[in-house]
C-alpha cells in the first residue's frame, strides 16, 4: 500500500489529508476535518489539474505582451512543458479578450485564450 499527503484548500484550516492507495485505487482518506476534504482529496489524487495563466509575445501592440490562460485546467505535470511551448508563440495586435491564441495546447484539447485586450501600437483610441 502507498500513501500520498494532500493539503486541503477548501478552507483556511488546510487539513493535511493522507490518501492511502493501491495503484489507482483509493483505500482510505484520513486527516480531513470535514466532508469537503474527502471530495478535494479524491479530485487531487485522481487528477491534479491547474489553470495555467501566463503571457504571450505581441507583435505591433501598444504593450509587448498579452496575458493568457488555459481555458480549462490542464494536468499539473504538464505545466512546465506547456510554458516551453507557449514561449514560442507570437500574436499580432490587436488582440481581443477571449481570443484563442493556440488550439489544443500540448495535445490536451484545451486552448490558450487571451485575458485582456491589446490595441495596435498606432491606435489612438483611449481605453
Amino acid at each position: 500500500m502507498e500513501g500520498k499527503e494532500i493539503i486541503c484548500v477548501s478552507c483556511p484550516k488546510g487539513c493535511r489529508i493522507t490518501v492511502q492507495n493501491r495503484g489507482e485505487e483509493i483505500i482510505s482518506i484520513t486527516g480531513n476535518d470535514c466532508p469537503r476534504g474527502i471530495k478535494y482529496a479524491e479530485e487531487e489524487f485522481v487528477n491534479s489539474l491547474r489553470i495555467l495563466p501566463t503571457t504571450v509575445k505581441v507583435i505591433g501592440g501598444e504593450l509587448p505582451l498579452v496575458s493568457v490562460k488555459t481555458e480549462k485546467a490542464i494536468p499539473k505535470r504538464l505545466l512546465l512543458e506547456a510554458m516551453v511551448e507557449i514561449a514560442e508563440i507570437e500574436v499580432k495586435a490587436p488582440v481581443k479578450i477571449g481570443q484563442i491564441i493556440k488550439d489544443d495546447l500540448m495535445g490536451t484539447g484545451v486552448s490558450l485564450v487571451a485575458t485582456r485586450n491589446i490595441k495596435r501600437a498606432d491606435s489612438n483610441q483611449h481605453s
Binding site: K13, G14, P53, S67
Partner: protein, 427 residues
Amino acid sequence: MKLEYDLVIIGGGPAGLAVALEARRNTVKDILLLERDKYLGGILPQCIHNGFGVQYFKEELTGPEYAERFIDQLNHDNPNKVDIKTETMVIKITTNKGIIAINRDDGLLHIQAKAVVLAMGCRERTREAIAIPGDRPAGIFTAGTAQRYINIEGYIPGREVVVLGSGDIGMIMARRMTLEGARVKAVLEIMPFSTGLIRNKVQCLDDFNIPLKFNHTITRIEGEKRVERVTVAQVDKNLQAIPGTEEEISCDTILLSVGLIPENELTREAGIKLDPVTRGPIVNESRETEIEGIFACGNVLHVHDLADFVTEEGEIVGSAVSEYLKRNRKFRSQPIKIVPGDNIAYVVPQHIDFIVPGRKKIKIFMRVKKPAEKVSITFKDDKGDMLASYKKAIVTPGEMVSVYLPEVLLGDRSKNITVSIEEENKE
C-alpha cells in the same frame, strides 16, 4: 472642460470602478473618475493569475478579465456616461471637496465635487520600511514591481530568487518566476504562519517544491553591483534573529512581499483622521470619513485579501453616495463605536451613524491578530453583556472575517460594541 461634478472618484481600480457603476445604478448622474495610470483596472491587469471573481461572479477569472467586466460595463451599458480621465494625477483634496489634479492635456485642474470617493488603493512596503542591513545592490524588488516587469513589460528580473514574506503576492510571484525559468530557492516568513491564502501555498509553492521557511528572515544582503547572496536566520518569539542559525543562500534577486500600506497622503493632507491599525480613514457604515461627503473604499481604507471584497465595498459606497446626495439620511442620536477586543486587530466600519428604515443587518469586517480554532466571535455592549455570538471553525490573519450584526441589537442604549474572538476550549 467641465469642472463641477456630483461625484468625483479618485482611482480607477476595482474599488473606483465599483463605486462608479453602483452610483450610476443608483441614479447619480454627474460622475468623474480620475486615474493616474494610462489604463483603468488598477493593479488587476498585472495580476494575470486566476482566482478572481469566485465570490462576486461565481466563476473563476484572471485579474485582467475581472477588471474588463467592470470597464466594459462602464463604457457600454448605460447612456448615462461616466466621465473618465486617465493619466491624471490628483495632487490635493480639500475639506470642502475641492480637487486639484494635473494631466498633460488639461494642465492644472480645479474640480469641485459634492461627494468625493477615495479609492487610491495601497502600495507595497519596501526594503527601507523593514530595514534589512547590508549592501545596496541592484536586484531587490517588491513582488508587485517584479510582477509588472514580467507580466506587463516582458522582463525577467533575475534567475535565482529568494522571496521574503509569504503574503499572496510573494507566493504568486514565486510560482510566476518558476514558470518563467527562474529558480526560487526559498520563501521566508518571519511569522510562524503564512499571511497568505492556503490555496496559494499549495498551488504556488508546494506544486513546485518551493520551500517555505517559517520563523525565518533575511538578516543581511550582500553584493557589489548585483545581489550575490543573503544571510538567512531563524527568529525567536520576539522576531529577533537567533545567533548560530544563520545560513547563506546565493541568489541574484530578492523579492519582498512584506505588507501593503494604504496610500493615504491625500487623505492625511486633507486632515482626515486615520485608524493607526488599518492606516486608512476611520469610517461609518457608509464608508464615509469624518468629513461629510468624503468616502473611502478598497485598499485605501484597509487592505483586502480579495478583489471581490473590494468590489463589494465599492458598491456599499456607490449606493451610500446616492443617499448622501439625495440628503436622505437620518443620523442616530449618537454613533455606536465598534471597538476591537481580544484577538481583533481592527474592524471596519469603526462606527455606525445612521438610522436606516428597513435595514435588517450590518456587515462588520474584521481581521484577527493571530490564528485560532473553534472560536466564537462575540459582540458585547458597554456593560459587557453579550449581544451576539457567532461560531467559527477557524480564523487566521490572512483571511478577513465578516459577520452580520442584526440591526435589532443596536438599540439606543450602547455607545460602544466590543468585538472579540473567544476560544472555546481555553484552559
